[in-house]
Structures are given as structure tokens and as C-alpha cells.
């Protein structure tokens, strides 16, 4: 073979091999098949009612049919614009309602009711449910999502896979599993052994919580005191019973707040933190590890634990006027806990039977 040709072939082959990894790059550069900006939803403000509001818009087209069915006392079926089957119920003694009542039945249709809806027990509703008034669910039901224009009540051991929104009160009997978002415009009440993830309502009662609205005694700090000083401590720290601390506290270690301690600012601990009986914190409470809040504590600001959070009975977080967020990957709340605002367990939330 000609030497020059051999060298040329070698150079070309090596060049081609060198260019080979770049081939997909050139193809993508030319085609621009993945060249849109990363999707950032500009209007997304993390609103918990987002799905409920979208579903209300989605079902709006059925409103005349719902009104017609209620007026005539009949039911209607059909297909929604996106191909989903629906059933509109006009009254509760229809054959369809009785069909819903079959044990272990599965209903893969969107159900819309212009009035109250009573769901029979032991049923699975794999599509969304709309109740124009109250919704009353039987025990051991499985739901995908429920929107109730008045109260929503779930029977014991029911499961919700995506979301529930009640314009009125939401209550879940014992041992319900609430995956996804649960919201109410007035009150959420969970009974013993319920599990939850994200809850939002002006008032969230774990079990039957008693509201202790009485104000805290005067701390002696003027209301115009401005930004409180920050007390920063490296290592473990303990605040003795009954002490009043008029500063923000940041502890780079374990923190123990003994009974009756009052912190007039915010508290942060980089390790485990324990609040004993009757502690009150006027600002936020942030724990980088495990946070344990004893009985009858009062926390005004957000409560965040980066690992685990345990809240004992009688504790109140936030107020009606100033709702707040209580958040951790894992939350155990005893019956008798009261939260105004958001209670958000990223991985696992559990109601524990009270003492």
C-alpha cells in the first residue's frame, strides 16, 4: 500500500474515532430537541389548594347537569372533554348509589353530586369525587381525591391517595391514612392512629385539642424593642426551669429547655432539642436533628425539625391571628395538639393516642 495513503487512512480513521463521541453533541446542537429553559412554574406559589381549585374548574362544566339532576331527582352519565367517564347523582336512593354500596366495589368514574354524598364502606373510588355539600365516607374506603363544598368526614381506616379539600370542616376517624394534601377552609380534625403528610387549615386539631387562648404573662420587654440580640453558644446548653430569656438563642449542640421556660425570641439548636412541660417560645423553633416538644408548650413562630419531631398533648403552635408552619420529615403528634396553619410531615406523620 502507498505509504502516504496509509498515513492518510490512519489519520482519517483516528480523526473519525476522535469525533465519534461528539456526534450526539452535534446532532443535539443542530436539532435543539432539549433546548428549552428548565421548567420553573412562575405562578406556582406552593398553594395547597392548587389541585382542588383546578378540579373545581375542571368540573365546572357539569354544574348545569348537577343542578338538573338534583331538581329532577335523577342521575346522569357521560364523558368529560378529556375522555374521563362521569356520573352525576341527583338523590341518594338511586340504584346507582346502591351499586356504589356493593362491598369491595371499585368505581373508576368521576363522581359529582350537587347535594350531600354518603359513600358506602369498603369501596374504592379511583377517580376524583365532587360533593356540592357535605361528604360522609364509610369506613375502610380508598379515595383518590375529594372536593367537598361543605364538611368532609372520612370513616375509620380510610385511605386518601392524592388530596382532599373541604370548604367546611374535615374530620378523619381513627386509623385513616392520608397521603398527599389535606386542606380545609375552617378546621381539620384527625383521630388516633391517623397518618398524614401535608395538612393546612386555619385550625388543625389532633384528637380533641383544647384551645388555650389565654395570653402569656408580660415578659417585661417593650414592644418596640426591635431586633433582639442573638446569644450564640458552642456546645450543649440548658435553660433552667422558669427562666425568661429575652434574646434569640442559637446553640451549636444539644439544648434542653426546662419546665416553664419562656423564650422571648427564636430558638435554634444544631443537635437534639428537648422542651419540657409548659415552655413557651415567641419566635421560631428550629432543630437540626430531633426535636421533642413537651406537653402544654406554646410556640408562636414556625417549628422546623430536620429529622424528627415529637409533639406532646396540650401543645399549641401558632395562633388564630398568626398561623404558622410545623414541619419535619417525620412527625409524631399526640392527641390534644393544636396547630394553626400548616402541619407538614415530608415523609411520615402519625397521630399518637394521648396519655
Amino acid at each position: 500500500m502507498n505509504h502516504f495513503l496509509a498515513v492518510a487512512v490512519l489519520v482519517c480513521t483516528v480523526g473519525l474515532l476522535f469525533m465519534l463521541p461528539l456526534l450526539p453533541a452535534f446532532v443535539e446542537l443542530r436539532r435543539k430537541s432539549d433546548a428549552l429553559p428548565l421548567s420553573v412554574v412562575q405562578q406556582n406559589a406552593g398553594e395547597i389548594r392548587h389541585f382542588a381549585n383546578s378540579f373545581r374548574d375542571y368540573i365546572k362544566g357539569l354544574e348545569p347537569i348537577m343542578q338538573g339532576c338534583v331538581a329532577a331527582g335523577t342521575f346522569g352519565t357521560g364523558i368529560l372533554p378529556d375522555g374521563e367517564e362521569y356520573v352525576v347523582l341527583g338523590r341518594l336512593d338511586e340504584p346507582l348509589v346502591r351499586a356504589l354500596g356493593q362491598r369491595d366495589a371499585t368505581h373508576a368514574v368521576v363522581i359529582a353530586v350537587g347535594t350531600d354524598l354518603i359513600a358506602p364502606p369498603h369501596a374504592t373510588f379511583s377517580k376524583d369525587i365532587y360533593a356540592g355539600a357535605n361528604f360522609q365516607g364509610g369506613e375502610k374506603n380508598n379515595y383518590r381525591a375529594i372536593l367537598g363544598e361543605k364538611d368532609v368526614h372520612l370513616g375509620a381506616s380510610s385511605r386518601v391517595m392524592r388530596w382532599v379539600h373541604a370548604v367546611g370542616e374535615f374530620t378523619a376517624d381513627s386509623s385513616c391514612s392520608l397521603f398527599g394534601r389535606i386542606s380545609s377552609d375552617s378546621l381539620i380534625r384527625l383521630h388516633a392512629n391517623c397518618s398524614f403528610l401535608r395538612l393546612n387549615a386555619p385550625r388543625i386539631e389532633v384528637g380533641h385539642a383544647v384551645n388555650r387562648e389565654q395570653g402569656l404573662p408580660d415578659s417585661g420587654i417593650p414592644s418596640n424593642a426591635g431586633v433582639l440580640p442573638r446569644f450564640l453558644h458552642d456546645g450543649d446548653f440548658e435553660v433552667h426551669a422558669g427562666q425568661i430569656i429575652s434574646s434569640n438563642i442559637v446553640i451549636r449542640g444539644r439544648l434542653l429547655l426546662r419546665s416553664g421556660v419562656r423564650i422571648c425570641g427564636s430558638v435554634k439548636s444544631l443537635d437534639d432539642m428537648v422542651l419540657e412541660d409548659g415552655v413557651s417560645v415567641e419566635g421560631s423553633l428550629i432543630g437540626a436533628k430531633k426535636l421533642s416538644i413537651g406537653p402544654h408548650c406554646t410556640i408562636h413562630g414556625p417549628v422546623v425539625a430536620e429529622r424528627e419531631l415529637a409533639i406532646a398533648a396540650g401543645t399549641r403552635c401558632g395562633t388564630w391571628e398568626h398561623p404558622t408552619t410545623v414541619s419535619a420529615p417525620s412527625i409524631e403528634a399526640e392527641e390534644g395538639v393544636l396547630v394553626f396553619g400548616t402541619l407538614w410531615a415530608r415523609e411520615r406523620g402519625q397521630v399518637v393516642a394521648g396519655p
Binding site: 406556582n44 404558622t324 407538614w344
Partner: protein, 413 residues
């Protein structure tokens, strides 16, 4: 000479190991997003500073967006910091002030020192809220962003907050696509891993926040700094304050569309970063302050990121020199140097970080552009090295740093 080369290889390997650690942490480790769930609170008053110097192309977009964000009425004041603009920036701002009475308070700066830090420093006379957010004028915040950036300030250890920057003009050309990948790796993996590992997430000076009392404690904005964000990060750290990163607090930005602008930008960043390294490096690593050991080590490595470009070039030159001198059988060292140089300095976000970031972002095909990063790497290593040389010569001649504003590419409204 050979020991200098070994030292360089060692340092580059340290950076490479660090990038691997970050990537693996992001893929398999515990992810920290402690404040992102705070959606209900008694939100504090906040001031939003919008730094603007000749921003007629973009200023209306950000003011529009800020007027529609979800934050309690009466608790948010926007202060556009119009720094000696000679275009229509002032008129556009004044029109917004008219249209949204009480919600925007303009700060028209007509003289004084150049640079963003100097302008922000002067604007502080109008600020009286404990929480301050800062945006550059080319950013477009979403509806929930303000609350997300304010939420970490409920933690009294937090002095600064940084959100995620997402390029919006990705589609323009190869450069914007490479910058999109680079940003993705830098934020999605690098910054979040540092947040996860309690290291030193960096304040970016935009899509960011700072606590007023912390800022006062550290002496306010440093108008002599070319990168006020890096400067702020380290002064906060040295004074016992943390900067936290919120990966889910995303905000669109415009990235440079032409190479000269990109080169200017990265040279300014390099100079500012090196300036911070000279000022705080030794003190951070060995001084008496409240930073933890891992913060000291990571913070020092972070400060040295831009210095690695000239160091790598020196390493390459030394490797060639010792090879031709026949000093030692260095083939392995040269291979390690070549490999790690690319890995450690692929536009400051190593290629595997970028691949991991693309996976985490759920973007599949753009990762095939990865080989082109060698182009960005080549431009960066020489630009950053040039910046370092220029900085050294400035030190000798006593020349002052000057601020180069990044050019915008959006069409004028």
C-alpha cells in the same frame, strides 16, 4: 520542579475528589431542604433591592414580576437601585412608581463609586427591614419566590440565603446551552451538596437575601470588592452566620450570548474570588472564629477555585518540561493531571456533576452536549488565568479594580 508538579497534581486530585463527593451526595445522600415547607407564617416585612445599571432592556420585566408575587400586602417594599444609568432605566422605574404607589421606592444614584456593592451600600439608607432580598435586573422572580427566600430567616443562625439561578435564553446558541449546563451543575449539584453536607453554600448576590442585623454586624457591603457576594459569604461565615441554599427557589436569568461578554464576566468573577481568597483565605483556614472544621476546609477550597486555572496551566507546563528533561517516568502523573484538570475545572462544575444535574433536572438530551464543555473549559482556563495575571500586575502597578457590567441581550420593550 518535580515536587511542585506532584503538589499541583495532589491539589487537583483533591478538587476532583471533592466534586465526586458532591455528586454522590446529591445522587444518594440525605437532601436538606429544611425551610422549603414553611408556607404559612407571620411573614416579616421585607425590602427587595433590584440592582440596575443601564437596564432599560430588562428592568420592566422584573418590576412587573415583583408586583405580582404573593407576599402579604404592605409587607414588601421594592427599591430599584438605579446606579448612574444613562439610558431609559430611570424613566421606566419612575413609571412603575406612579403605577404602583407605595410599593416601589426608587433610589436614583447619580454619583459615587462604581460597582454593585457601592450602589447597594448607598441604598441601605432607605432600608429598615430585617430581611433584605437582592435581585439583578435581568432576573424574573416567580410568584412564590419571595416567601421561599424569606423563610430561612426564621432560623436565627441564617445570615444569608441563596436561590437557584435558571437560564431562560438557553436556546440562543452553543454558548448559552453550555452556560445552562454549567449553571445546572453548579446549583443543582454543587451548591445543594454543600447545603446537604453543612459546608459553605455560596451567596450569589442575586436571587438572594441577607439579614440586616448580620450585615451591620459584619460592617455592611464591601464596596472595594469586585464580587460582593463571595465577600459577603465569607464575612458572614467568619462572624458566626450561615449562608443557606434553597435549590427549589428557582429564578430565571439571562446568560451572556456572546463569548466576549462571557469572558469579561468570568474574568470579573475570577478577580473578585481571588481578591476574597487573599483577604479571607488564611484567616478562614487557621484563624480563631466560629466556622467548623469542614467549613474551614471547604471554604478554603471554594476560595481557591479560580486560582486553580493558572495552577493547572503551570502544572501542564511543568509536566511537559520534566517529560522532555527526562527527570522521571511521569506518564502516570501526566495522565492523572490531564484527566483531573478537565474533571476539576470543567467551567467550575465538573462534567460528572453536570451529567448528574441533568439527570436530577429530568433533562435527558441536553446532556449529550457535554463534550462541548471542553470548549468552555478551554476559554475559562485561559480567561481566568489571564485575570489572575492581570490582578498580579495590578498589585504591582497599584491600578484600581474596575467594575464591568454584564451586557444584556433582551429586546428593548
Amino acid at each position: 520542579m518535580i515536587y511542585v508538579l506532584y503538589s499541583i497534581v495532589f491539589v487537583i486530585c483533591v478538587y476532583t475528589g471533592r466534586h465526586y463527593w458532591f455528586t454522590l451526595n446529591r445522587l444518594f445522600g440525605f437532601q436538606r431542604h429544611p425551610y422549603i415547607d414553611i408556607d404559612t407564617a407571620d411573614w416579616p416585612p421585607v425590602t427587595v433591592l433590584v440592582a440596575a445599571h443601564n437596564e432599560e432592556r430588562v428592568i420592566a420585566n422584573i418590576l412587573d414580576a415583583l408586583m405580582t408575587v404573593k407576599y402579604p400586602a404592605g409587607k414588601m417594599l421594592v427599591i430599584p437601585v438605579n446606579d448612574r444609568s444613562t439610558d431609559r432605566t430611570r424613566q421606566i422605574i419612575d413609571k412603575f412608581v406612579e403605577d404602583f404607589p407605595g410599593r416601589i421606592q426608587p433610589f436614583h444614584r447619580v454619583g459615587g463609586k462604581s460597582g454593585k456593592a457601592a450602589a447597594l451600600k448607598d441604598a441601605m439608607e432607605l432600608v429598615n427591614t430585617e430581611v433584605i432580598l437582592i435581585f439583578d435586573a435581568d432576573y424574573i422572580p416567580g410568584a412564590g419566590l419571595i416567601k421561599q427566600l424569606v423563610a430561612p430567616f426564621f432560623d436565627l443562625e441564617v445570615g444569608g440565603v441563596m436561590g437557584r439561578v435558571v437560564p431562560m435564553n438557553v436556546n440562543a446558541n452553543l454558548l448559552t446551552r453550555l452556560l445552562d449546563l454549567e449553571r445546572s451543575g453548579g446549583y443543582q449539584v454543587d451548591q445543594q451538596a454543600r447545603m446537604n453536607l453543612r459546608l459553605v453554600p455560596q451567596h450569589g448576590g442575586t436571587v438572594a437575601g441577607v439579614r440586616l442585623s448580620a450585615l451591620r454586624e459584619i460592617g455592611g457591603w464591601n464596596e472595594n470588592s469586585l464580587t460582593e457576594d463571595t465577600d459577603l459569604t465569607y464575612r458572614l461565615l467568619l462572624n458566626g452566620w450561615k449562608t443557606v441554599y434553597q435549590n427549589r427557589s428557582e429564578c430565571y436569568e439571562e446568560v451572556p450570548e456572546v463569548w466576549p461578554v462571557r469572558i469579561k464576566q468570568i474574568m470579573r468573577w475570577a478577580k473578585g474570588h481571588n481578591q476574597a481568597m487573599m483577604t479571607y483565605g488564611f484567616r478562614l483556614l487557621l484563624g480563631k472564629h466560629r466556622a467548623t472544621l469542614r467549613e474551614r476546609i471547604d471554604g478554603t477550597l471554594l476560595l481557591g477555585v479560580y486560582a486553580m486555572a493558572p495552577v493547572t496551566l503551570i502544572g501542564w507546563a511543568l509536566a511537559l518540561a520534566v517529560f522532555y528533561q527526562g527527570v522521571a517516568p511521569l506518564h502516570g502523573v501526566i495522565a492523572v493531571l490531564s484527566l483531573t484538570a478537565y474533571a476539576a475545572l470543567g467551567n467550575l462544575a465538573a462534567f460528572f456533576e453536570i451529567a448528574a444535574a441533568a439527570r436530577l433536572d429530568g433533562t435527558r438530551k441536553r446532556v449529550s452536549l457535554l463534550p462541548f464543555l471542553i470548549l468552555g473549559f478551554a476559554v475559562s482556563i485561559f480567561s481566568v488565568s489571564r485575570a489572575a495575571v492581570s490582578q498580579l500586575s495590578d498589585l504591582v502597578t497599584g491600578a484600581e479594580f474596575h467594575w464591568d457590567k454584564t451586557e444584556r441581550f433582551r429586546k428593548v420593550l
